[in-house]
């Protein structure tokens, strides 16, 4: 006899539309941001260098890899099997990005954040707010997407 479905404990009812909206928003942000940066990795490497945190070869490697990681996270957030892992990764990316922005602000660096690729220069304060909002949304999703909601194998 299989265990009763945990569906009713998984944020159903009024929470479901809100969670769905948050999920799509978080996925959308990562997909768009990743795609814009993947379009011009040289410009993104330039932006990373301006943070004065990494040697140039590391900035190049990150500029090539991070956009595709963001796209991968954006897609994985939408799939139930990879959702929790993707949300944890999204949160780690948000925290890393916040730390980078904060150190740039503390050092008084005059830079464009490079969040959405070149040509979309936004101030540090605006970028900090966006990153904080994204991190908050990710934390909420992690809290309301318990493990029991992920597809599981019923015991025989």
């Amino acid at each position: 006899m299989s265990a009763p479905s945990p569906a009713n404990s998984c944020g159903c009812g009024w929470r479901r539309p809100l969670l769905a909206t948050l999920l799509i928003s978080v996925a959308g942000v990562f997909l768009v941001a990743g795609t814009l940066k993947a379009w011009d990795p040289a410009a993104f490497a330039d932006d990373l260098r301006n943070y004065r945190l990494f040697p140039w070869p590391a900035a190049v490697a990150l500029a090539l890899y991070l956009p595709w990681l963001e796209i991968s996270v954006g897609i994985a957030v939408l799939h139930p099997r990879t959702r929790r892992a993707a949300l944890w990764l999204a949160l780690a990316l948000c925290i890393g990005f916040l730390a980078t922005l904060l150190q740039a602000w503390a050092r008084g660096l005059d830079i464009s954040c490079g969040c959405l690729g070149k040509g979309t220069s936004s101030g540090l304060a605006e970028a900090l707010l966006r990153a904080a909002a994204l991190a908050f949304a990710t934390v909420k999703l992690l809290a309301y997407t318990p493990r029991a909601c992920a597809p599981h194998h019923s015991s025989p």
């Binding site: 090539l64 892992a85 944890w88």
Partner: protein, 139 residues
């Protein structure tokens, strides 16, 4: 092994192949070689480059590297022709702005590469402050 590790590894690995493809094939892939020249190196051989001062006109008037040409984004259209007159078409360009935290030299260097099609454009690390600290001449 926690269940989350497998999907985590999958997401991380899924980005590796397109990233590698970008590194090899992307038309806008970054060069692995840095375009920054430390100020002390530039100061040891200043005539090797055509110096381009990306700071505002008032800063340029206060003091600049001898022989430098002023070229900033505020007055690009007006300053670009004199820059072209000063450049012999062969010397590499070295752009500087005020300090390490200033990014305008990078913006000017980017425009010179993309709009003017000049391939050998470098940026002085640390800018004017680093040049002075390295004992570079000023006029």
């Amino acid at each position: 092994m926690p269940r989350i590790l497998r999907p985590l590894a999958l997401i991380l690995l899924a980005a590796v192949l397109p990233a590698a493809a970008s590194a090899l094939l992307h038309p806008r892939r970054p060069s692995w070689l840095s375009d920054e020249i430390p100020a002390h190196l530039a100061a040891s051989n200043p005539t090797r480059y055509l110096m381009v001062d990306a700071r505002p006109a008032t800063d340029f008037a206060t003091g600049h590297i001898p022989g430098a040409v002023s070229l900033n984004e505020d007055a690009w259209d007006a300053l670009f022709p004199p820059f072209l007159d000063a450049w012999d078409g062969e010397r590499p360009i070295l752009v500087y702005c005020s300090s390490l935290s200033c990014a305008t030299s990078r913006e000017v260097a980017h425009r010179l590469r993309t709009e003017a099609g000049i391939p050998e454009v470098f940026v002085m690390e640390g800018g004017w402050e680093a040049w002075i600290s390295a004992g570079g001449p000023a006029e």
